[in-house]
């Protein structure tokens, strides 16, 4: 595929790596916010290429991973309600909650179905008018507009058996909260490419303004990431802190106005519970009162029982950038992709799964 090969050219990569290593100051640490970046960085061996000049830390940008156990337990309880069809993106199936997982619930008889798109869930609702169909809305600003669109469609078409369990989270507030915590020091942020396509690069401007933190938004191909890292190094060298875009083919300063308008119409912000971070003010989405009848949490009462966190699991620390996956005592021993203890070992964007799959040689 020509289009992809352009972003994997080894000659261009060597040039960018060379420019990164020309930096002569103390070793730098950058955080990649997004789980997709974590995977690409490990998959293409970018850590090896930029070491020892730059060290990379993973951030909280994996929506599956940051879903709190209490919320996951609720989703599993919803799936077990009589007659309910629970629809979800595939990654959520295997994440262990306090006592079970959605795939375990399915093996026990719950009707849990994997969807590739929110509109497919709406189709399931159309095909099963006598059964409640709940979509498990886990994600960031990238998938929130599609949920909003599905709700507007359901409203327009009078589909009254479609509900969403909204667990959507907002990325800039959590990044600001992480910087405010000050637990981990780093010199720049690899900003999320897909999220910023929706919300625009301007959404990140408080990072340089309030925290003197350089932020460069990156795509997901190896050359995008290397260019982003080279731009971050250049900002550090010039003692600057700005928001820049290394992913101009997709990201604009103002974002995608249509998608943002959809979100604005259906959702309002609320406090959200993040695994590892706890409750972060105004970092989540909930349905506006006018769309309350689509809110699964409001319509269906479930009592999932006490929340238990997996013992010894360092997912919380890993999502805050304090630890890297191999430092967790369970990593690769009690916790593997086939038998995960924490969500970071499950999700295709999870830091532990990426380190397990691509990290150790």
């Amino acid at each position: 595929m020509k289009h992809l090969d352009e972003y994997r050219d080894s000659g261009l990569a060597k040039g960018l790596v060379g420019s990164i290593h020309r930096y002569r100051g103390r070793p730098l640490r950058f955080m990649e916010f997004c789980g997709g970046h974590t995977v690409a960085i490990l998959k293409y061996g970018i850590r090896q290429l930029i070491s020892p000049t730059v060290e990379m830390l993973s951030g909280p940008g994996c929506p599956v991973c940051v879903t709190a156990n209490a919320d996951l337990d609720k989703a599993i309880a919803l799936a077990h309600l009589p007659n309910v069809i629970l629809t979800t993106f595939g990654d959520m199936m295997k994440v262990p909650g306090s006592r079970s997982s959605l795939q375990q619930a399915r093996a026990e008889g719950a009707d849990v179905r994997i969807m590739y798109s929110t509109l497919d869930a709406l189709q399931v609702a159309r095909n099963n008018p006598e059964r409640p169909v709940i979509f498990l809305g886990v994600g960031f600003e990238t998938t929130a507009p599609t949920i909003a669109a599905s709700i507007l469609q359901a409203e327009a078409q009078g589909i009254d058996n479609y509900f969403v369990f909204v667990l959507h989270k907002l990325t800039p507030p959590v990044m600001v909260a992480l910087l405010a915590l000050g637990e981990v020091k780093f010199d720049g942020i690899v900003g999320p490419g897909h999220v910023s396509t929706i919300i625009g690069s301007r959404a990140w401007e408080s990072l340089p303004r309030d925290h003197h933190m350089p932020c460069v938004i990156s795509g997901f191909e190896p050359l995008d990431i290397l260019q982003c890292i080279a731009m971050l190094v250049a900002q550090v060298e010039r003692r600057e802190a700005r928001v820049e875009i290394a992913y101009r083919r997709s990201v604009r300063p103002e974002g995608n106005r249509t998608a943002l308008a959809l979100m604005e119409r259906v959702f309002e912000s609320c406090d959200a519970n993040w695994r590892g971070m706890g409750v972060v003010p105004n970092s989540g989405l909930k349905l506006r009162p006018a769309y309350g009848r689509f809110d699964a949490e409001r319509v269906f009462a479930v009592e999932p029982g006490p929340t238990e966190e997996p013992k010894g699991c360092a997912c919380g620390e890993i999502l805050r950038g304090i630890e890297i996956p191999p430092e967790c005592p369970l990593f690769g021993k009690a916790c593997t992709p086939a038998h995960p203890v924490g969500p970071c070992m499950v999700s295709a964007e999870g830091a532990c799964a990426a380190h397990y799959r691509y990290g150790k040689l």
């Binding site: 061996g45 593997t336 086939a338 295709a348 040689l361």
Partner: protein
């Protein structure tokens, strides 16, 4: 969280499937032939005469041949897909499992589990397709069974086929025979089947039409075995894809395998679809491809032979067997870095073969 029920992922051909086989089936069925875990069981026989498919005369096998024996069940959804259907798959899959042991496939059984309500026209199309695939492979279906279950107890149609074949005396092919220095050859583009099935099932539209690669590989294998006596391993990378097959070979042989990302043949459309869906094409199923591990001295000769065959025109040497990292598969990326390639974990796509 303890696992006390069968998950869909136990049937994916990846790590949970392996654990199920090793911890349950091998535990109770254990014997040296089964424990080899090759695509077909190969057992010694003596004084063997057999009837060649399509003839009534007996042919003596005067050397010391071995008998290859294998079985497989097919539950693909949808039952018709671009490039094939469940019937063609059921013939090719079992023929290929026999061929991967170096056997000449001879006879198959076919057992049908049919859901009440299946259209007779559809069933006939599938049976015709099985006959065509069997003719192409040069095998005959000589026994069978039919069961009909009530609506909802099966999904349309499930097929099981069992096959027997003869392995000539000199042929010694097993997943445990890879040696450091050997070259790793793949017979063509990977991921075609899995992506074609997924596209059909999920209604994804691709710019270039994608077809399953479903095909009988026994004639390709026969030509390869004719060209070289130094073919050490053969395996068809079905469920779990190329990554899982190479991991199995590395583990069984106690060797490392190094592959080069830019030498692995992948259709642009498959690469694009995988990129879009977040899949690794190395984990996507194939139904008409094989992986051969061949002595370095014969690798080019075998490659040339494969490229001259209908089902091997895009064959490529993708890597080599190493002493380093035993039991592991390592991939060199186009950026010059290296990373591990792991077996598929969990279910990539439900029911692709």
């Amino acid at each position: 969280m303890t696992q006390d029920r069968i998950l869909l992922a136990h049937g994916s051909g990846g790590q949970l499937s392996h654990e199920l086989v090793e911890r349950l089936f091998l535990k109770y069925f254990d014997n040296p032939i089964l424990a080899r875990l090759d695509d077909a069981a190969v057992v010694g026989v003596s004084g063997f005469w057999f009837q060649v498919p399509g003839s009534s005369s007996l042919k003596p096998e005067t050397s010391n041949p071995k008998l290859a024996f294998t079985t497989d069940s097919y539950v693909v959804n949808p039952i018709f897909f671009p490039g094939g259907d469940i019937g063609k798959l059921a013939i090719c899959g079992t023929v290929n499992d026999l061929a991967m042991s170096g056997a000449r496939p001879l006879y198959l059984s076919a057992a049908f589990i049919i859901e009440e309500g299946l259209s007779l026209d559809d069933l006939e199309r599938i049976v015709v397709s099985m006959r065509q695939a069997a003719d192409e492979a040069g095998v005959e279906i000589i026994t069978g069974d039919t069961k009909v279950v009530s609506k909802g107890s099966a999904d349309g149609l499930f097929i099981n086929t069992t096959g027997v074949g003869i392995v000539p005396e000199r042929i010694e092919i097993s997943g445990s025979n890879a040696r450091p220095g050997d070259k790793v050859i793949v017979s063509g583009t990977i991921g075609d089947h899995g992506v074609a099935i997924m596209g059909q099932r999920e209604g994804l539209e691709f710019s270039a039409p994608l077809r399953s690669d479903c095909a009988p590989l026994n004639r390709l294998v026969a030509a390869m075995l004719e060209a070289s006596k130094q073919i050490h391993c053969l395996r068809d990378p079905t469920r779990g894809g190329l990554a899982t097959t190479l991991s199995e070979l590395a583990a069984q042989s106690g060797v490392g395998i190094l592959i080069y990302e830019d030498r692995i043949p992948i259709h642009d459309a498959v690469r694009g679809a995988c990129e879009m869906l977040g899949l690794d094409p190395l984990h996507v199923a194939n139904e008409g491809k094989l992986v051969a591990v061949v002595d370095e001295a014969d690798a080019e000769k075998v490659l040339a032979c494969m490229r001259g065959h209908l089902y091997g025109t895009e064959a490529a040497i993708i890597g080599e067997v190493r002493v380093e990292h035993p039991g592991r598969v390592v991939m060199r990326t186009p950026l010059g870095t290296s990373r591990l390639v792991d077996m598929l974990v969990g279910d990539l796509l439900p029911r692709i073969c």
